[in-house]
Symmetry: C2
Subunit: 222 residues, 2 copies
């Protein structure tokens, strides 16, 4: 038995936005657009992974990106250089996107000429996990320097994601990151989660990730 | 000129908890307890830095730690081994602590025998920056693998912190992290911010950080 006390200070601020998320998905189905919601901590490599993903799929799929940030435009400027269609969403301080905000983003982006829309959510492992954006699939990135214990500390994020990309495997030798233990923690929360180790910087694992994404998009839009 | 559009989807959910934060500070002053609010992304090394901080100061100051987590107890179990007084706060899914929650935590911890109370906030660069907890000083950790552009993307956090600890400098050779550029971005947002590069793992910079903290605590409680 541990000697410290545990104090519950629960306080609910979460609204139910499930109905609106279902409407977003119906609209996406009708418009033949697949929406991926990409989440992670700040600095785990969402934008670099996105660049590698666009490079791998841009000849087969028409890709549109929604860059959600609190108030900067740096990521949209980076993504624009890939040639993909991009819109910057400013959340005005909000720490996540809900279905209504995502819907505004999709209207702003325009989905008529988009097969694969990707929402780069705000860098945050907590709040984005609470709100269904209406995406068809959820993916998250955990990077090696963050540590393999993160599923224990941010369980909901790992529970709601279809794919876990473990990024920055090129620096594995310099960190105490146990890939097997991380996978075991994640699978315990979510037995169906697909885990793909990648290095967005050097391209390792990007083919496997692009294969998964291509097959999901084609199943949705065809 | 960039070609993408910027869509503002501002939506205010922030409550004014400034009055309660001021009450917390008055109570701390009366009780001769200094409260440090320690914030960062998940995985940037808050708990390891805390262990090194406790080791450096435990012979001079009576230290109490409030570990805020969504629902795990792993960090409190780690801190308990240092011999410091510790309480685990469960936020029940909440992504940050406000002044009211911090006050409940301080009552739960008990401050009669605590000179230095440290709140390890939820791992998140967004929401904790919005809420004054009532702490006397705010410190944040940015770790090298997260990238030097983070002040551009999470500006409020850098604006409200008194100290920026740049952690994991031992792995600097393996990342494209520009310390000078990071410092320039941070100082532009907050000219008074004190920047201390550290490695919580090997102890680099911990003396300078402990010196700063000791002097702040003594100025408050004596």
């Amino acid at each position: 038995m541990e000697g410290f006390r545990v104090l519950e200070i629960k306080k609910s601020v979460f609204e139910n936005n499930d109905r609106e998320a279902d409407i977003v998905r119906q609209e996406l189905k009708r418009d033949k657009t697949f929406l991926l919601n990409l989440m992670s901590s700040p600095g785990s490599g969402k934008t670099t992974t996105l660049k590698a993903t666009i490079a791998a799929l841009k000849d087969e799929l028409r890709i549109g990106v929604m860059e959600a940030d609190i108030d900067s435009d740096v990521d949209a400027a980076t993504i624009e250089k890939t040639g993909a269609k991009v819109i910057q969403l400013h959340t005005g301080g909000m720490c996540h996107l809900d279905a209504g905000m995502t819907r505004q983003g999709l209207v702003g982006l325009g989905t008529d000429d988009v097969d694969l829309a990707i929402l780069e959510n705000v860098g945050n492992l907590v709040c984005p996990a609470e709100f269904d954006t209406g995406a068809v699939k959820n993916a998250m990135i955990l990077s090696v320097p963050e540590g393999h214990d993160k599923p224990l500390k941010y369980p909901l994020m790992f529970t709601i994601c279809d794919v876990l990309l473990i990024n920055k495997i090129d620096v594995m030798p310099y960190f105490d990151f146990d890939l097997e233990e991380c996978s075991r923690y994640a699978k315990k929360l979510n037995p169906n989660i697909k885990i793909i180790p990648i290095s967005a910087r050097n391209g390792d694992g990007i083919d496997e990730w692009a294969d998964w994404l291509r097959s999901e998009v084609n199943a949705w839009i065809r």
